[in-house]
């Protein structure tokens, strides 16, 4: 006799269905894994903010004020004015407080963490001349600091204002690079040692052999911003009113230089997959070469490539330093380098950009892992 198991009748209205769906979603191991990753990422961002603040505090005081200016003021207006200048500079960098006491490293870290934790807060941003009273407060959730460069604007505002053009350039570059180099890599991999492979290899070698800096300098001379004794024959410079024409030279350079990096890997992944057993099996079953190539091999070879897609999309907001400097494009590429100038580093700028870029790259890493699993179900991120 078998025991009769009585089951409760499933309640099948829309409410219970959606409730079950939500429960299934949250008990799914992949979701749990992603939630765990997001949790540990938040800890990493806090650690990153603390670490970068600590490292900035390890820099010597002389980095934050100009010694020659100090000496000049000392000679002209006396010691008090000079010390006042030095003190105001150090105060802006967060090294000393209002009473000229040194702030400890832990205090600096705590202050910056308070800035970036999303709670409503009020932060003084402008003082009277002797720093005795606060003239202006900033109100909001996450405070990303105020730069001492770029006309003393807020770091987030500078980033927002500049990321549009960088994103446009990067996206056009990425789209064209992949449109050109994926078919090229596939054509090369179809017959290693064949004509297409030889031509492609010659192109990649020649392209790759030009050091990027030399290429940019030659392009700069041909249609760059700086033209010495009128030798540059186009003198292209980015112009907001005519972006289509003026963006062609920088886009050409970026696409041209980023093609080999993709071609090499597409060819490598395709040739590695082509010698697999499943290809031999498909061939012995009598499948056409086209089907084998695009349905079997490409599906597998593309897995390592799709991993980079989220990173490419997210980091499109960060421009290229060389290209933006040469063609005078007001993008995000030179922000970090400007903040990090060896003579006068911008503390709040560096802190904020590190946290912004850190959050972006952590997100890109996580999305990259998820996309990989989506494209190749054999890969497991969890145990």
């Amino acid at each position: 006799m078998e025991a009769v198991i009585e089951t409760k009748p499933r309640k099948d209205n829309w409410f219970f269905k959606s409730l079950r769906a939500i429960r299934a979603f949250f008990t799914n191991p992949t979701t749990l894994y992603i939630l765990k990753r997001i949790g540990s990422s938040l800890i990493t961002i806090v650690l990153l903010a603390a670490l970068v603040t600590a490292l900035l505090r390890l820099l010597p005081d002389e980095k934050f004020y100009s010694n020659s200016l100090y000496m000049k003021i000392l000679g002209k207006a006396g010691e008090k004015a000079a010390n006042n200048y030095k003190w105001s500079q150090l105060f802006e960098a967060g090294i000393v407080d209002k009473n000229n006491n040194r702030v400890s490293i832990f205090e600096s870290i705590g202050k910056f963490l308070y800035y970036i934790i999303p709670i409503p807060k009020q932060i003084p941003i402008r003082w009277s001349a002797d720093y005795s009273e606060v003239l202006k407060y900033w109100n909001g959730l996450i405070y990303f600091g105020k730069s001492s460069k770029f006309d003393n604007a807020f770091v987030l505002d500078i980033f927002k204002e500049r990321c549009g053009i960088s994103f446009l350039i990067s996206m056009i570059t990425v789209v064209f690079t992949y449109l050109i180099s994926v078919p090229m890599g596939i054509a090369m991999a179809k017959k290693p040692g064949g004509t297409a492979d030889k031509i492609g290899n010659i192109f990649v070698v020649l392209n790759y052999a030009i050091p990027a800096i030399v290429f940019y300098l030659i392009m700069n001379k041909a249609f760059g911003l700086i033209n010495i004794d009128g030798k540059s024959f186009f003198n292209f410079k980015y112009n907001k009113s005519n972006p289509v024409i003026t963006l062609i030279p920088p886009l050409f350079c970026m696409i041209f230089l980023s093609i080999p990096g993709v071609v090499i890997w597409v060819r490598r992944f395709m040739t590695d997959e082509l010698s697999s057993d499943y290809v031999k099996f498909a061939r012995s079953k009598g499948l056409s070469e086209q089907t084998i190539f695009y349905k079997h091999v490409f599906r597998n070879a593309v897995v390592p490539l799709v991993r980079n897609i989220p990173a490419t999309l997210i980091f499109a907001f960060v421009g290229s330093y060389y290209v933006e400097t040469i063609w005078g494009i007001p993008g995000t590429g030179n922000m970090l380098i400007t903040f990090l100038s060896v003579q006068n580093p911008d503390v709040q700028g560096i802190q904020s950009l590190t946290v912004i870029y850190g959050a972006m790259s952590i997100l890109a890493f996580l999305l990259g892992d998820i996309v990989t699993v989506f494209f190749d179900p054999r890969i497991k991120l969890t145990d």
Binding site: L47, L58, I213, L217, T271, L340, S361
Partner: protein, 328 residues
Amino acid sequence: MLSAKLAEDFSRKASSPVYDEDKMFRRVELSTEESEHIAAEPYSYWKSVFRVFIKKPSAIIGLSVLFILLFGMIVIPFFTPAGYLEPDVTLTRLNLPPSWEHLFGTTNDGVDLFFACWAGLRKSLILALISTVINIVLGTLVGLAWGFFRKLDPILIEIYNLISNIPSLLLYMLLGMVFAIAFPSMSAEVKLVICLTLFGWIGVALFIRNFTLIITNREYNVASKTLGTPAFRIMLRNLLPFLSGLIITEISLTIPGMISSEVSMSYFGFGLPSTEISVGVLLDNGRRYFDQHPWQLLAPAFTLAAVIFTFYLLGLALSDALDPKKHR
């Protein structure tokens, strides 16, 4: 029925004088040595790789250019005329364009660029090789463990996120101070190698980790795990051979990259001092005077191009040859 007929047939053949076994065959001594001998050449993976490698045209071109470069690097510095590598005190050799006397021209210090390129190549290549070997070995070991042991993944991901997101320029600034205080007598070469390898390996480790993740659940690895193969053996025998082609491609791109990053290091004050002669220093110098004296940039750029060309071709041929499935 049939077997009886066969047996009869056989006995008839054996007894008849035409089919006399003793006359037809010669009995040989039983020799264990001879019977155990394998006449076919034993299969050796690396010999087979070499056989495929050496037949490729790209390998032949790459090897010959590499040979020329090595020969030039070792021999040409011995024939350098006296004083050609030092700044010219008589000020007669400054900024000369290429001519028969100075094949690649001279720099604004009066250093002959032809001899400087060969001498610089020797130094740069040695530094690049050392940094690449450290980065690749460390990166591969960490990356394999990172991809294989799932328990390590969360920790190493966060370590990677932390390290890769600190602005490198800030680290180099601080590192410069540490070196100046703690090791004032350390040579510039050692400093450069330390800076290039301190965090360079973590990028390689991530690269290896991503591929390990992709292949670690393929059938042959699952089979190995099911059979109870130790983890170390799976990594060494299953994963590493699969990754070898990718690692070779990565090495062939990293070596020239290391020479190029010498240039960017000198921005942060970690390159070799401008009095030293290396390809990076020459490139950095040439970049500054490109508008007036373009040969000062083009000469070291061509030298670097030759190195990139050689290593790319060799890497391509070797990574194609490493796949044993294509050997026959």
